[in-house]
Symmetry: D2
Subunit: 380 residues, 4 copies
């Protein structure tokens, strides 16, 4: 074992490396954790390496200026669920829409609002994440909020397109109870802040990933264009992956002892924000690279997993009441798009691991339980 | 009859209708109006000609065996709205799904459930039609109904994908009131019958089309394959088209005197049923021809109009609890698909005109009103 | 004039044409035929009415400044075929690309280059039209031309994406002969001019439509934005439609006495140019409305018909050697897009009729023949 | 270093593991090769591990019964290029088509024939792979071959849709020379066999991947349905990936010392064959999982890389001259599709590594050279 110790100490550059298979259970063997981090609640804190690319100051989606995130958590009785709201900018999204796009990686999902985002290339409400059976309630709440802020909706102007994305948390939570209410959406929206929790909070409360506890995770990358810094941030609702399929950046393959439900009925939502000016076609290309991030983790986009990526750019606002026929916009030259693609792949991979590592073990409905990836890592 | 005489006399504005084929040159001939119909509530009864193609016995979507339709109408105060439910077969759709597909003609819409229909090529709930702001309530109601019928949903099996399609009836109805409730969905489902009303009922209650009153309309066509008869039926929720753009099959272009709201904020939903055995890719091709039917009416798929077509085949049921790995299915040979395409184009065109002609003039929210196309036709 | 009198006399078959709007009720009025046109080689010259919308000065795609069109016609032996080249601007397209998009109305076709236009939203060669079996030769010729103009292609920079669109002219022409050569592409490109022929020329030489002779046709519309005039122009290669399905704007349904091949094995290509500044997603929406123009003519996008629309905007050039990371562009506000949609629907409809009316009757391979729509119209 | 030796010896289960970074050049450090394999021309022979899933007997696409592959290699002067033909069955594809589908992972590519495969869900020629500028010649050759076998094409029946997929080999080969001729296609087709070479042969001759020599590679997986064995086989034309991005299954990241061209101008084509009966929508889902296999190798689908996957099923033949209106087919139940998804992800990953490992180092145009991944592995 001593040699392994040396392998993972690597003082100076702190690489943590895969380290073989436990012959008794077929699972990869443990790692001694880094000790220099106190919180141990992020993938980096536990020594996972995501390469040299620079992250934003908080390594969250809120590193994109103006983006904030709020949760409402419902953890009572057999319910382990909630809402997470992503506010792309602090203003009224209906009045000032943002360019946006969607990539449906695997459409086994019930998310709302995607058809219009695809057609018009714009986003006009906050993005709401929740469980599969709370989509209707989320839709209603976003409509009521938009009306309360814009009395012309459905009267002298058109309607509004609420975007509500979902995963099925039914393994840990009583999803049949349909316990979430519209006031919980209001609460999530009001809680929005650039400083927000990860793990088993909000929509992430009852989610599972690769047989471990899943949830909300986030990461960011810094990009350079025209001599100044831009940011791309990713937030995931991680509820996908079969036990045993997870691959860490170092090649290790953690799998839980008790696999619980094995058939994939999960899903994963990836929300991507950037301040790089992009047209919606480009945002769609950017969103598509979320799939490569998921695959790096071992996903093959299982049949039962509704894997959806949504990307928006905060670089320009599309005014609902625009007086001009034309809008002057900067658009990234297509040849310069690779750094964004790479940033999505990397930050999606990292955000999922952050979601898992920020989550502690949980017991839920029907005595179902999910262990924490953090515990697996710390036990090595 | 006198009024019909005037209708076809060519005096004044010289319009003509077609009446089959002139045997000397093989071209369509002018039409003598139908006199045998008393109700005057369908396009054919008012003398409009849709060619020689055979319709089903009732010229409705219910000519496809097993399909039924139910309405719940909410016409009180400033509300002119409702739900219309299409039940593709009398059984439990969740247990016995149908092959299905969607074509998004113009995605300025808020319909729910389409992503999964596209991915999996199947339908597992009734199809619900309603106003834009009742989609969330429709989703919740369909989920609760599916759970009540299938207690394993979200527990020992996956979730369910409710399909709710919508148009904006906000010109005639107080859409901000969000007055529809889940019990109204139950009512629409319970009202389902092969014998159902058209016009300003259910989801069609407050809809507008080409400046006239719109609503629910339907039509069907009979097809011949392998020596036996098959049926394709279409039901539309017609709420699209700018005043003045409507073109009748005879070339006339009815437009209302008072145009009301001119900017298109409408939408149209086209639901297509057939008993021809098709795979979902073929159903998608079939659905796409709904667009040609709309264009025949003068539509150019305006920016603000969410135009969606959904098609399903009743020829085979996809069992949720299938024991076999493989399903034996008949599939139409691709070269034989043109009659279906033509049937969709024609029946969509006719269903929209039936929706308009079955509707009487209506006054709604804010003293807004829509005249009846029937009155325009009878006044000629 | 006498013949026109007969055309509009309503005797015998009672057809009518529209002539603008009745001021008392705002509805379209019957039309007195145009008498000022001698050539009788366009739909308008023969009295067909396309409403009040303003056309460009020549009513061709070349009304969009910078666009030119060249033909090479091969009409010898059993071959009735050729190339038509559309040059979107007079410069080097590879060095200065244009925003572009494609809509595949029905993908039963063999066109080349569409995948990349869809992904990158840009066009980097002239658009070449030809017969189905000359696509390979067209591809090779466009590559060789791009290399001759840009010696870095495939060496120090990437490759080039030739766009070649096709229809099957095999009813009138010996398509198996594969008689077109690369030098014919060069000839078509060198012939490019803002003043070009329509009908049975270039790629249109051997095409058929609705049982009549088809070919190349074009039309344009003028649009107003921000107080100045813009143009949208459409050019079609018309080779689609079953005999008897054609509908004229006035409702008449010309059909040839001898129907020849009835099963649809045709196709139609619609190329749309505009100087309105649009992003590629918007161009895709614009292209999609070509389908509504085809449907107005009676098409239901038959199974065997490869119906493709390609749209580009000349408002901004995307430089291959761009030094900046960002490009400053004007983009049309989405709410202002309807006039473009309508212009596409109308100009596609008109361009197809122009293609047919500019063509005289033709006899080709195997004594196959196609009558001229012009003769049908003049005989009324 | 001794401890590293132990790490990679693991006698008994032969795992080869990632082993840290060479501090002088930033690249991962070497591994001692397995010595038990003589050929050393496949990834498995060099000790790479792809998990416990069973491969077919030859671990090639030809494990799917009836599939054969032929090459024509052009390696002379500055040309390093060729054709590779995949024959999905030994019969006439035009007469007996196969269900097929395409997934465009990144559409920066010039492949031909995909639009029709997408629309009709079928394949009617062999699949040809080649360089970007030989697509036109490949198209012409496939047309001529189809005509020679089917004299009715373009006369009494429709045309034919040649499928030609491409990558840009211009780094090692003089792609401007356009040196491939139609007779080379004939040669590749005639060479087709279930026993075929991998590496720098046929279309793979001049390809590059991750800074190493790329080319043709293949792998297969065995699946169990209804108590019998089925096979999925994958063949790749690997010409993608930036130097340094490659990740081996064990986590190692080989990068070449000289990186050559760094900007990604590559592409990768993934052809998937299976004898599992699938409808084309399912084949599209299957094809989409090729992207997850590429991502496992470190790809993020770079902007300049045309990444295309095409899948076909040999389980049923769609007869061109079908007399019946309906075809009786078995179709896999959707819930059983995950093993196919996983097989694609795994076999794509393995096929790319086989392509690289079967290739020796090559020097080409302009003294450009590409080292062999095999040498990198053997040097460890």
């Amino acid at each position: 074992m001593a040699s392994f110790g040396r392998l993972f100490s690597f003082s100076g550059n702190g690489f943590s490396l895969f380290n073989g298979v436990n012959e008794s259970n077929g699972c990869p063997m443990p790692l001694t954790p880094h000790s220099s981090d106190n919180s141990l609640s992020s993938a980096r804190a536990l020594g996972l390496d995501f390469g040299a690319a620079e992250t934003g100051p908080t390594n969250t989606i809120a590193d994109v200026a103006g983006v904030s995130v709020g949760h409402h958590t419902l953890n009572e009785g057999n319910c382990r669920t909630g809402f997470t709201a992503i506010l792309p900018h602090p203003g009224d999204l209906f009045r000032e829409k943002l360019p946006a796009a969607v990539d449906v990686i695997n459409g086994y999902g019930k998310s709302a609002g995607l058809i219009q985002v695809e057609e018009l290339g714009s986003l006009e409400t906050p993005v709401l994440l929740t469980n599969t059976f709370a989509v209707g309630t989320g839709v209603n709440a976003l409509i009521r909020r938009a009306i309360s802020q814009n009395s012309d909706i459905g009267r002298s102007t058109g309607t509004v397109n609420p975007v509500v994305l979902e995963c099925n948390d039914g393994y840990l939570s009583d999803i049949q109870a349909m316990a979430l209410r519209e006031e919980h959406v209001v609460s999530a929206l009001e809680n929005a802040s650039a400083d927000f929790e990860q793990g088993s909070v909000g929509a992430g409360t009852g989610m599972s990933a690769f047989g471990f506890k899943g949830g909300i995770g986030t990461a960011s990358r810094v990009l350079q264009y025209s001599g100044r810094k831009f940011t791309l941030g990713t937030l995931v609702l991680a509820n996908f992956g079969r036990p045993g399929d997870l691959v860490l950046p170092d090649g290790r393959r953690p799998c839980p002892k008790e696999k619980g439900q094995i058939e994939e009925r999960g899903s994963v939502i990836v929300v991507i924000a950037t301040d790089v000016p992009l047209e919606s076609r480009q945002l769609k290309r950017v969103a598509k690279r979320a799939g490569s991030g998921l695959a790096r983790l071992g996903s093959f986009y299982g049949n039962g997993s509704g894997d959806i990526a949504l990307a928006f750019s905060t670089a320009c606002r599309l005014r609902h009441d625009e007086k001009s026929d034309f809008i002057a916009r900067d658009i990234l030259h297509e040849d310069k798009i690779d750094p964004l693609f790479l940033a999505v792949a990397q930050s999606t991979q990292e955000a999922v691991l952050n979601a898992m590592i920020a989550s502690t073990a949980m017991r839920g409905r029907g005595r179902h339980k999910r262990p924490a990836l953090r515990d697996w890592l710390l036990a090595r």
